[in-house]
Symmetry: C2
Subunit: 236 residues, 2 copies
């Protein structure tokens, strides 16, 4: 093997964020319009380079705060993969990125990022039909698939809701992220029976129409037992 290829390279490392939320009944992702080259004018996932003495988790949380103004401590934030194909970033053949999945409740429009990029929510159907910068198409696709899987086995769905929510709002999360329709009575029983998934606050929330719904908070459980099985999974 050639000597040069055995060298311990130093590489640039970024943390990129797939921030998902539900707005107007659609699954949306936060994208920024790139100001500079490469891919100027293209949409891209928010993210940035790893700085001084911080971990990738710190960097992801910092970027999240900069792009959305949300304190990352309040949010679900998790690694979903590392992307290291040589040449994936034309600036330098050796830039690798660690992708994070973040899930937020419906938020006010993001504040303009501190680096003056236009950030906005895009329905994932649109985002996936668009050519994103770098390999962000692939990252977005894999992060969404990870989120879909996590809904089955973890209480991730509550991260899409605010502090308090109704069973109907929680059901909408599953329906929107999985793009399916769920049986309302069965869903209600399932989530209220699952141990530690949701806990009633005692309050009720008057709806625009119909009987007011009981209000719940996220419970202590992180793993769902039994899991919420995704209907399409049985068909594959």
């Amino acid at each position: 093997m050639a000597h040069v290829s055995r060298a311990r390279q130093k590489v640039a490392v970024t943390a990129d964020l797939v921030i998902l939320t539900i707005r107007e009944g659609r699954l949306c992702v936060l994208l920024v319009e790139r100001a500079g080259e490469p891919f100027a004018g293209s949409l891209a996932l928010p993210g940035g380079f790893l700085r001084g003495a911080e971990s990738l988790e710190d960097a992801a949380a910092r970027e999240l705060a900069e792009e959305t103004g949300i304190a990352a401590a309040k949010l679900y934030l998790e690694q979903v993969g590392v992307y290291s194909e040589p040449g994936r970033d034309p600036r330098s053949p050796r830039t690798i990125t660690c992708a994070f999945l973040a899930v937020a409740p419906d938020l006010p429009l993001p504040v303009p990022g501190s680096d003056a990029r236009a950030a906005d929510w895009y329905p994932v159907t649109e985002a996936r039909a668009t050519r994103l910068a770098f390999d962000h198409d692939r990252i977005l696709g894999e992060a969404i698939e990870a989120a879909r899987d996590k809904l089955q086995f973890t209480s991730l769905a509550t991260a899409f809701c605010g502090e308090e929510f109704t069973i109907g709002e929680l059901r909408e999360v599953y329906e929107v992220v999985w793009d399916v329709e769920l049986d309302r009575p069965n869903f209600h029983r399932k989530v209220t029976d699952a141990d530690g998934f949701v806990v009633p606050t005692g309050g009720r929330r008057p709806a625009t129409t119909g009987r007011p719904a009981a209000v719940y908070r996220a419970g202590p459980a992180e793993l769902l037992i039994p899991p919420m099985m995704r209907p399409s999974a049985t068909k594959l």
Copy 2:
């Protein structure tokens, strides 16, 4: 923010491998004894620095071949996480590692690594009771937990077996990795019923004692439907 902390750092990147197998009824992991500082003499996960134009997956496959002599194409190999805490490697405060989980059938003792480190299999019970180099304790623990989860929902268990195996051997994989005892009749029915998990070859394998077992090969399914539920999961 101070100027220095905003700089785009270049960092060293390694790929570390958690290579699991089953030997003599115990879950084992391949560890190497470190020859040089830091942590000289300590046990560590095999791994190495990212080189020229290769991805982390390439680097992991290359290290796997060097340490075990197995072509990585034949093996299950998957990212399980990135570890980037500043200071996790005393050589340089900025060395991050991407951990890979690999699963191998019972193999001949590994060939001495090309970098002349002593590599050997260790039962994970021993490995977890030992202080490994760097943050490899944590990486090993998280990789094993990932493997345990994957047994439930994917056909990963077949990767622990050879090309051909019996249902009893497959059951031993679950029993050893999960450290539980499973009901033989129910296990047999479950795996033979699950769609595309195992396919009979038609052969039979005479055992040391008892009725000869039918021989199976891994089926095309990657996802198990229905999943194999881990008994302890319901207790948590």
